[in-house]
């Protein structure tokens, strides 16, 4: 394991500190190291619904990279690939509350759901109204009442962006929650890994993959995927991912879509654009149009090589909210 780190136990603390220093115009870091979170510079916006997200670290820029005007009010980084505990979530919720309540945006993992649940209870005791949206866009996982259900992956960024814009334009908690739920209902993702990643404190790759194998249906925590197949061309791999996503979303002729190709951290941008080109052609073959595009490293798994494909069905309101100004370190336009 070769990494640009010092103490494996201090990776999150040191990197969040560097992040906060580098972007002090946009964010501030909490002072209490036992309740680490990142929030908007300037604090909660009075009267605006606050947006809080968080989860295990190692997915940067998710979530701290999306703190700022038009998106999140606070982000809570846990240990690498481990959901944060309730205390910092509670503290972040307090910091994000402008009096209009707070939306928790939670990726659907048992740990994240349980810890945010407890934090929400604690926040209610502070008289903060909390609503929660649980993002579950990963079609690699069979959804069922009897399982933990689908995971939340790259679609989370779109929930955060669009709900963030709704809050910014003044929607109330009810409406912001409705918008977030709508985005989650219309977004699907699936990923592939060409290599595993190595969690600093584990010191070993999260799984072993042969030189000629890839994992289809990977999560974002270095979990193995749905199936292991022989290495294939970008077009073939994209075919697997896009077909699963578009089938599940029932993409049909006339649909207006947002296409996101997300890098897992170690894949060159050039490769993401090759995937994008193929995915877009496949959507157009179905008669849909790609109205908005997002290509880059947004929800990563440390240095994993691989990518995920996300498709969101747009309507006019969602498109307007997506286009609305956003000023964060990782997503920035219109202002």
């Amino acid at each position: 394991m070769k990494k640009l780190i010092n103490d494996p136990q201090q990776v999150v603390a040191e990197s969040v500190a560097g992040f906060a220093l580098a972007h002090s115009d946009l964010v501030t870091m909490s002072q209490d190291p036992d309740a680490l979170f990142v929030s908007r510079a300037g604090g909660a916006v009075p009267g605006k619904v606050g947006l809080v997200s968080g989860g295990g670290s190692g997915h940067e820029p998710l979530h701290a990279g999306f703190v700022g005007v038009g998106m999140l009010d606070a982000a809570v980084p846990g240990a690498v690939f481990t959901s944060p505990t309730p205390d910092p979530i509670q503290a972040a919720t307090k910091a994000a509350d402008g009096g209009a309540g707070v939306l928790h945006i939670v990726k659907n993992y048992t740990g994240d759901v349980l810890n945010f649940e407890t934090a929400a209870e604690l926040a209610e005791m502070d008289d903060i109204t909390v609503k929660t949206v649980v993002v579950n866009d990963d079609v690699a996982v069979q959804d069922s009442l009897y399982t933990a259900g689908r995971r939340g992956v790259a679609g989370t960024v779109l929930v955060e962006k669009i709900a963030g814009a709704a809050a910014e334009r003044g929607d109330d908690l009810e409406k912001v929650h409705e918008i977030a739920t709508r985005v989650n209902a219309g977004v699907r993702s699936m990923g592939v890994a060409l290599t595993a990643c190595t969690v600093p404190h584990a010191g070993k790759p999260s799984f072993d993959l042969g030189e000629d194998e890839i994992e289809i249906g990977i999560g974002i925590h270095g979990e193995p995927g749905r199936e292991r197949i022989p290495a294939a061309s970008a077009d073939e791999i994209t075919g697997h991912l896009l077909t699963a996503v578009a089938d599940d979303l029932q993409v049909t002729s006339g649909d207006k879509l947002l296409l996101m190709v997300n890098g897992m951290g170690g894949t060159p941008a050039s490769e993401l654009y090759i995937v994008y080109g193929r995915a877009r052609a496949m959507l157009e073959e179905r008669g849909a149009t790609v109205e908005r595009s997002l290509v880059g490293n947004y929800v990563t798994s440390l240095e994993m090589q691989g990518a995920s494909v996300t498709v969101l069905r747009l309507d006019d309101e969602l498109t307007d909210l997506y286009d609305a100004p956003v000023v964060t370190t990782a997503l920035r336009w219109g202002a």
Binding site: D34, G56, G78, A79, V80, F81, T82, S83, P84, T85, P86, D87, Y109, T110, G111, L114, N115, E117, T118, A140, V141, Q142, Y146, T147, A148, R151, V199, H201, A202, K204, S206, F207, G219, H221, G222, E223, P224, R226
Partner: protein, 213 residues
């Protein structure tokens, strides 16, 4: 020993920290196979904090010891295991409100812990989670209590049953937790949370038997 007191509770916590540190890498490896490779790290971080807190606080009752463990795990572990073990110890604290525990008290305490885990995680036996270790452990302790055995014997039976339960998770296909994402591929691996449960209950029994402190 026929009953267990606060010394046992404190020693169990110390032994838990030791056993988790010792098996940190094993638990990480189990979790790497069907999860995200952090279970050993998470519990180690948690019990290291618990140990520190225990030295500072010197709790005087079994319930206070368990409450301290609950709160500390809840606020340091994160992930799925943090809230689940946290709730388990919290419910155990409520159940163990006297000065000492006999076999029936042990069984009630374990049953309460299991109830907490199920309340939070909604898993059933056979879902390939820590419930598959806790559930037979509770049954075994109850049996000892019914047949008039000692508290130590109840813990020993619970530990044995939990170990067997952890082993029995191997063929299962996971339906809860992170391993469920793997579907069929989760079979032929032991569940890390069931394994850590077996380790913790073994430590409890060993300490009760005077073997480990």
């Amino acid at each position: 020993m026929t009953t267990l007191d606060v010394t046992w509770a404190r020693d169990w916590v110390k032994a838990s920290a030791a056993v988790v540190a010792e098996h940190r890498v094993d638990l990480i490896d189990l979790d790497r196979a069907i999860g995200d490779g952090d279970h050993g790290e998470n519990l180690d971080r948690g019990f290291t904090a618990v140990l520190r807190k225990l030295q500072e606080a010197e709790p005087e009752t079994i319930a206070d010891v368990f409450t301290l463990v609950a709160k500390t795990l809840m606020s340091t572990v994160g992930g799925a295991a943090g809230p689940l073990y946290g709730t388990a110890y919290l419910r155990a604290a409520k159940a163990a409100d006297g000065q000492s525990l006999d076999a029936a008290g042990v069984a009630d305490m374990l049953d309460a812990a299991l109830g907490g885990i199920v309340a939070r995680g909604k898993a059933e036996v056979g879902d390939k989670t820590m419930v598959d270790a806790w559930s037979p452990a509770v049954a075994a302790a109850k049996e000892v209590a019914t047949s008039g055995g000692s508290a130590g014997a109840a813990l020993a039976a619970a530990a044995d049953a939990a170990a067997q339960g952890a082993l029995d998770t191997e063929p299962l296909v996971a339906r809860k937790g992170r391993a469920s994402y793997l579907g069929q591929r989760s079979a032929n691996h032991r569940d890390p949370g069931a394994q850590s449960t077996a380790l913790l209950l073994r430590a409890a029994a060993d300490v009760a038997a005077g073997g480990r402190r």
